[in-house]
């Protein structure tokens, strides 16, 4: 890494996160002047962005699809709820919570890194056997992992309130908080992608056999990516928990998995810019569809309400992108300024 050439190339690439965060800042500034429903849509999109950036960190670098990352979202969200709710509420809702946690109440900001770390630790334990599997088996394994986490959280009433929704999580995630965490997610994802581990993984993504033959420890590097991505997604869960103040276990199951993967695929799963573009495009699309779902009156015609329409359209959009433009909207490209010669 000696000499100035690599350093200047590194700086050149640093424009990507700067531009992406500037884009989000612009969106937040616009939304902060808009109506409450728009603000909520933007906050929701920013939280999804945290999750998609984490998902991208794993999928984009390793080339292994994960259907299970929203499990880390659930882990981060519930951990954050356990740490920040008032002890009185906790005593009623969570009979199985250890005393240390049940009697304490941490500030939301302190709970954030702890919650994300909890998700990362779970990823470390589960990822150790999982990352040894071939790519496709690992994908199925992540799906099984999600099903297990949902089953455990959904049945352990003494810890999570079980199937009923959990109310009383402090509401703290506003536009600016969501922007800060989304920026953190973008910076982590970008830094990993530019790191040695990220570059080696991208090599193994393109040609696994050649990477192994060159002495790349793919198992270990995939595990590293899995753990860091779980940290980022756990952060997204934390932000989600403090956005609505309500948690339900099933909210972390198939729908959110599908939406976040759809965002990544539509934007382009090999580029960070693609991840961000995917979140923006799909969030906008879903917002329009949700309005249409509740029934629209177009002068003479009344379109009746169609629950499920937005999911059907999203699935079709995903299939079209996969057939017509398999690398997504952005392909391998990142935003940046043209290099000076």
């Amino acid at each position: 890494m000696a000499g100035s050439a690599p350093a200047s190339a590194w700086l050149q690439r640093a424009w990507t996160p700067v531009i992406l965060i500037a884009l989000l800042l612009a969106a937040v500034l616009l939304a902060s002047a808009g109506p409450g429903s728009l603000q909520r849509t933007v906050i929701d999109a920013l939280i999804k962005l945290i999750v998609v950036a984490g998902l991208y960190l794993f999928i984009g670098n390793t080339g292994v699809i994960s259907f299970g990352h929203t499990a880390f979202m659930a882990i981060g969200a519930y951990m954050s709820a356990w740490l920040t709710m008032t002890p009185a509420l906790k005593r009623i809702r969570f009979s199985d919570l250890p005393d240390v946690v049940a009697t304490a109440q941490l500030p939301v900001l302190v709970a954030a890194p702890i919650s994300a770390t909890a998700a990362a630790l779970v990823a470390l334990v589960i990822g150790f056997p999982l990352m040894r599997l071939s790519g496709i088996s690992a994908s199925i394994g992540t799906f099984a992992m999600l099903a297990v986490v949902i089953a455990v959280y959904g049945n352990w009433s003494g810890l999570t309130g079980g199937k009923s929704s959990l109310i009383g999580v402090p509401v703290e995630t506003d536009l600016w908080v969501a922007l800060v965490w989304a920026s953190v997610a973008i910076i982590i994802a970008w830094a990993f992608q530019r790191s040695k581990a990220g570059l080696l993984l991208r090599g193994s993504r393109e040609d696994l056999v050649a990477a192994r033959a060159s002495g790349v420890d793919v198992h270990r590097l995939r595990l590293v990516a899995f753990v860091i991505s779980a940290f980022v997604v756990g952060l997204g869960g934390h932000a989600q928990a403090h956005f609505l103040g309500i948690l339900t276990v099933n909210a972390f199951f198939l729908d959110i998995t599908f939406v976040t993967i759809g965002m990544l695929v539509i934007g382009g799963m090999n580029s960070l810019t693609g991840a961000v573009v995917g979140v923006i495009v799909v969030s906008a699309l879903l917002d329009v569809l949700r309005r249409a779902e509740s029934g629209v009156s177009l002068g003479v015609f009344d379109i009746p309400s169609l629950p499920g329409l937005s999911q059907v359209v999203l699935a079709i959009a995903m299939l079209l992108i996969l057939v017509l433009r398999p690398a997504g909207l952005m392909g391998d490209r990142e935003v940046g300024f043209p290099r000076r010669r």
């Binding site: 699809i65 088996s137 994908s139 199925i140 297990v148 059907v312 995903m318």
Partner: protein
Amino acid sequence: MNNVLQAVVDAASVGGIYALMALGIGLIFGIVRLVNFAHGEFVMVGGYAVLLLAGAPTVAVIAATLIVVVVLALGVERIAFRPLRGAAMPTLLVGSFAVSYFIQHVVMMSYGGNTVGVDFMPKLSESIEFGGVSVPALQLVAIVVTVLLLAGLAYFLKATLFGIEMRAAAEDLRMARLLGVPTNLIIALAFAISGLLAAVVAVVYVAQIGVLTPRMGVQPALIGFVATVVGGMGSLLGAVVGGFLIGTITVVLQIILPLELRDFRDAFLFGSLFLILLVRPQGLIVVRAARERV
């Protein structure tokens, strides 16, 4: 002794259904390297077909369900999977996930997301006594159907021209095509068989649980996927072995787990499967075609 026999019958009937799921998934994976997430939705649509036809003679309901699901499988192959053929693994995975989600929500738009009850072949839930063991007739039916289907499929793959061509396509799709195997036809045939297996699972499953939701295919499909992974991706024998293994572990866990832990049975099930994969990351039966060629 009777308890042991009872457990064996349970394991055989549950494992048989899981094996049929795994086989339907493994058949497609073997040939086009596609993990078909929509396989669970084939089962789900089969369930709704039973609901739609409820009241008709049982034979007619079963026949119509088989036709509906086979046509659905062929349609999905033609419309969604054929354009994706030969695409990279992640594209195929996400594509089939999208198809699965699409079918779920089309059914949700038509029938709503709530649980619907359906009373199909109620006589089969009565028990039959034999050898001091009382077994629900449905379990025996499930075992007999599984055995017949497995034997039929084995005969088809080993002794008929289409079956041999199908195995050739699974071994090396491009080579098979070069040697004159009509791959489009063979792949469509594989989807038809896969749909047939899903329809049989649907009929037995609906008679067993008696309720329908648009999400009902997810759990059996997941079990089927995991069975193919544990058995060894790309091996049909492995898929069957994996299915029976998971069925056995499920029944054993149901017996040995204390009541308060029974809600977490699936967590223990998948946990034990992870342990198996820790020892054998490639699955129980490793086929040559599954290894990456250089």
